[in-house]
């Protein structure tokens, strides 16, 4: 049942991770690997596009928590975009909007990264 896919794009100093399907305790390690690879490659400007993310469990949310500290220490950020209402609700319940920048569109997050880079 739990079908999960990660697509990785690179563009203008920002790495975009697209999530698709169910992100739960079983599939969370895949996302961990993806983050770890970005960190190893010293790519700290990360956008996670959740357009096709159908479900996220607490274990899935934990993955973001595991890496945000390291990313921010390196003057980068993980920004979340394009969430469905249902997925947003899960993030929202836990209070993630207080900790992460969540945007409706990927473009907004990109612009945000660019303005910081310019500054």
């Amino acid at each position: 049942m739990a079908d999960f896919k990660i697509n990785h794009r690179e563009g203008e100093g920002v790495s975009v991770i697209e999530l698709k399907g169910y992100l739960d305790a079983h599939t969370a390690p895949e996302l961990e690997t993806a983050f770890q690879r970005l960190l190893n490659d010293k790519k700290f400007n990360i956008i996670v596009n959740c357009r096709d993310l159908a479900y996220i469990s607490s274990a899935g949310l934990g993955v973001f928590m595991a890496y945000i500290e390291d990313v921010r220490k390196n003057k980068g950020d993980i920004k979340l975009t394009n969430m469905s209402a249902k997925v947003y609700n899960v993030f929202d319940l836990l209070g993630f909007p207080l900790l992460y920048e969540i945007y409706k569109e990927e473009k907004e997050a990109l612009t945000k990264f660019k303005t910081i880079q310019r500054a």
Binding site: A25, S58, G62, G95
Partner: protein, 703 residues
């Protein structure tokens, strides 16, 4: 009775076999002495004498056959023993002939009359030669029937019949005409001898060493039997003595001596021809036994190190290599496969790393086929090997393939070039298949043992977790409260608890630890400890959450967090103070009004004190009689049906609303039932916890 009989009979038989022939020979001897002095010419007495001799020899035959019954396939040794018997008897015959010749030189007439000494000597001689014949016949019989083919047994039987036939015509009562038949049978017997002498298949199965022995033995046996034949054809003492003693016996020994000479002559020649192929055959046989030894692999699957060491040892054995080693491949996700040398024989790991590396290893891994390098010192594929000039010889690598996947490689090295032939490749390849199975089995067993151990640990964690949940519920006249927690796995991440803070106040907590399994159980234990200690110190739920977060943020791992609702119910005031740490909202129903109570708040362990404190709110609900509060974990709302659709808040709220007038237990059961119906199958995707609180009114105010 039968038992006694079966115990006694063989002994009686043995006794008969041993005692009767000497007695019979003694009778014959006495008769001969009498005849020599009295000159009896009675046919029936002669016939009785002959029959005594025949019976005696039949018994000797049986005795010898019986003594050989436990000999199995010890062909070379048997031939050796026959040679010893022959040598002893022949030298005996030689000595006797010397005596006998001296004794009979003066008596050259047709009917020799012997002295008692002469009669005794000739009888001893006849018996000796007779025993050799019988012994030779039995050995030859075993050799001929070593590998039975169509007609093997038949040809041998024909010879025996012809032999007996030619003996019958030598009986004393028969006339001269019958001698013609005797000659005919004799000639046919010789033909049968030649036909039988082609049955030499036992030679093929001898080892090289055994063949050399057989060549020597058969050469001597050939000479011995030729000598015997010479004795029979010439007018020697032996010939005369035998003819005088018993003509059928003379014929018997004569024919068998011919048989012996022809058969061992043939054996000598064919063994000589088989000698060059001995090595090949020997190796084939060795390979077969080695492959049989593969059963050893099966019994060693419980100890991986033993298993791999046996594998390399047997690799040396099956192809006669100088050194061998086994490499196994472990694959871990997307990482490049890790190749590890697990066992090596007569080669150092440094040297292995020197050889099995880089392009050569890649070549083997990619092709998944055997790789043969006939000349390591000259081959292009081994040019990376340092000091390869020192490493003269040939190398063979065979893959271990499990369902098309390469799980490892088996290497063998011979110290000379072109050391591996096609047979080696075939044998090692088939050996590799067995090794693969053994290794896979070993891994499976190790895995199942590990799984059992984990299951045991999970059982312990589960039992521990059950004890963390409250065993009873606080009771109050103004409260109707029920709680349930179901776990999808052995160990879940849900937690609920109650604590009686004072006479009127009850603290209620419902939480969910991220992740599952043993680590979740540990966090849960931690949360319980924190909750129990803080609940008595903190008067407000918000206060408790802030302090709980401070404690937890230091001890939780980065990716772990806890969502939690903490509420304090004051049954004197009829109030409920609620603070929420990232948890599912509380369903609050008062009359027609239904609300998802969701004061803002971060999950515990997500952020440090300042942000947490800033973001956490507290709600106060004033309860009216019949009001219902439902606390739950996301397992309820996130339970999915077959198509993946979640139970969701709408359904939960709908059920709650429909049943709000019922008691707490009915509400709980109905919600559980609805969730189960939604899922469709009696398994839960997640842990589920439900706490239903129904307010019955302030104490003393109720009717």
């Amino acid at each position: 009775m039968d038992r006694i009989e079966s115990l006694i009979m063989p002994r009686v038989k043995n006794l008969l076999l041993i005692t009767v022939p000497p007695v019979l020979f003694l009778v014959v001897f006495v008769y001969d002495i009498v005849r020599a002095t009295v000159n009896l010419e009675l046919l029936w007495l002669d016939l009785t004498r002959e029959s005594f001799i025949i019976v005696a020899f039949v018994l000797v035959y049986l005795l010898i056959e019986r003594s050989r019954s436990n000999i199995k396939r010890a062909t070379t040794k048997d031939i050796g023993r026959l040679l010893i018997v022959c040598a002893v008897v022949l030298s005996f015959v030689g000595v006797l002939s010397a005596f006998g010749f001296a004794d009979t030189t003066s008596q050259e007439n047709e009917q020799p009359r012997y002295s008692a000494m002469g009669i005794f000597l000739s009888m001893i001689l006849a018996v000796g030669v007779g025993i050799v014949s019988i012994r030779a016949l039995l050995t030859i019989k075993d050799l001929i029937l070593f590998k039975r083919k169509k007609g093997t047994k038949r040809n041998y039987t024909i010879y025996v019949i012809l032999l007996l036939g030619s003996m019958v015509f030598m009986l004393p009562f028969l006339s001269m005409e019958s001698a013609l038949f005797g000659t005919l049978f004799f000639s046919l017997s010789v033909l049968a001898i030649v036909a039988n002498s082609f049955r030499q298949s036992w030679i093929v199965y001898l080892s090289r060493k055994e063949k050399i022995y057989v060549i020597v033995y058969s050469a001597f046996l050939f000479i011995a039997f030729v000598l015997l034949n010479v004795l029979f054809f010439e007018k020697t003492f032996t010939n005369k003595a035998l003819l005088a003693f018993s003509q059928p016996l003379h014929r018997f020994t004569q024919l068998n001596a011919i048989f012996g000479a022809v058969y061992f002559g043939m054996a000598f020649v064919s063994t000589l021809f088989h000698l060059p192929t001995a090595e090949v055959f020997e190796r084939k046989q060795y390979e077969i036994t080695s492959l049989h030894n593969l059963s050893r692999l099966v019994t060693q699957v419980f100890d991986f190190n033993d298993l791999v060491n046996t594998v390399t040892q047997m690799t040396l054995e099956v192809c006669g290599a100088k050194s061998a080693w086994l490499e196994l491949i472990t694959k871990d996700g997307d990482k490049p496969p890790l190749v590890e040398v697990v066992s090596a024989r007569y080669i150092t790991k440094d040297r292995i790393e020197n050889i099995s590396t880089g392009d050569l290893r890649d070549l083997i891994i990619e092709s998944k086929k055997y790789l043969l390098i006939d000349e390591v010192s000259a081959d292009r594929r081994t040019r990376h090997v340092k000091e390869r000039k020192l490493l003269k010889g040939s190398l063979l690598s065979v893959p271990l393939l499990s369902q098309g996947n390469l799980i490892g490689m088996l290497y063998a090295i011979k110290e000379f070039e072109y050391g591996f032939d096609q047979d080696d490749i075939d044998v090692l390849t088939s050996f590799a298949d067995h090794v693969t199975i053994a290794i896979e089995n070993s891994k499976l067993i190790a895995k199942s043992i590990e799984r059992e151990r984990l299951e045991q640990e999970m059982m312990v964690a589960q039992a521990m977790q059950k004890r963390l949940l409250p065993q009873g519920l606080p009771t109050s006249e103004s409260l109707d409260m029920v709680a349930v927690s179901e776990s999808s796995q052995e160990v879940g991440g849900d937690y609920y608890d109650f604590v009686q803070l004072s006479k009127d106040k009850v603290g209620i907590v419902v939480g969910d630890v991220s992740g599952k399994g043993v680590s979740a159980a540990f966090y849960m234990a931690e949360v319980k400890g924190i909750f129990l200690s803080l609940s008595r110190m903190c008067s407000s739920p918000k206060d408790l959450l802030i302090r709980a977060n401070e404690t937890l943020i230091g001890s939780l791992e980065k990716k772990a967090f806890i969502s939690l609702i903490y509420a304090i119910l004051d049954s004197k005031d009829g109030t409920l103070h609620i603070a929420r740490a990232g948890h599912c909202p509380v369903i609050y129903m008062s009359g027609e009004h239904t609300e998802l109570v969701r004061p803002s708040g971060l999950g515990l362990g997500l952020a440090n004190g300042e942000i947490f404190e800033r973001s956490t709110e507290e709600r106060l609900l004033t309860l009216h009689e019949g009001d219902v509060c439902i606390l739950y974990t996301d397992g309820v709302t996130e339970s999915r049906d077959q198509s993946g659709e979640e139970f969701g808040y709408d359904r939960l709220v709908a059920v709650a609303q429909r049943l709000r007038k019922n008691n707490a237990n009915e509400i709980k059961n109905s919600i559980l039932q609805e969730v189960r119906n939604h899922i469709g199958e009696p398994t839960y995707g997640d842990d589920m916890t439900l706490v239903v609180i129904k307010w019955l009114g302030k104490q003393g105010e109720r009717p």
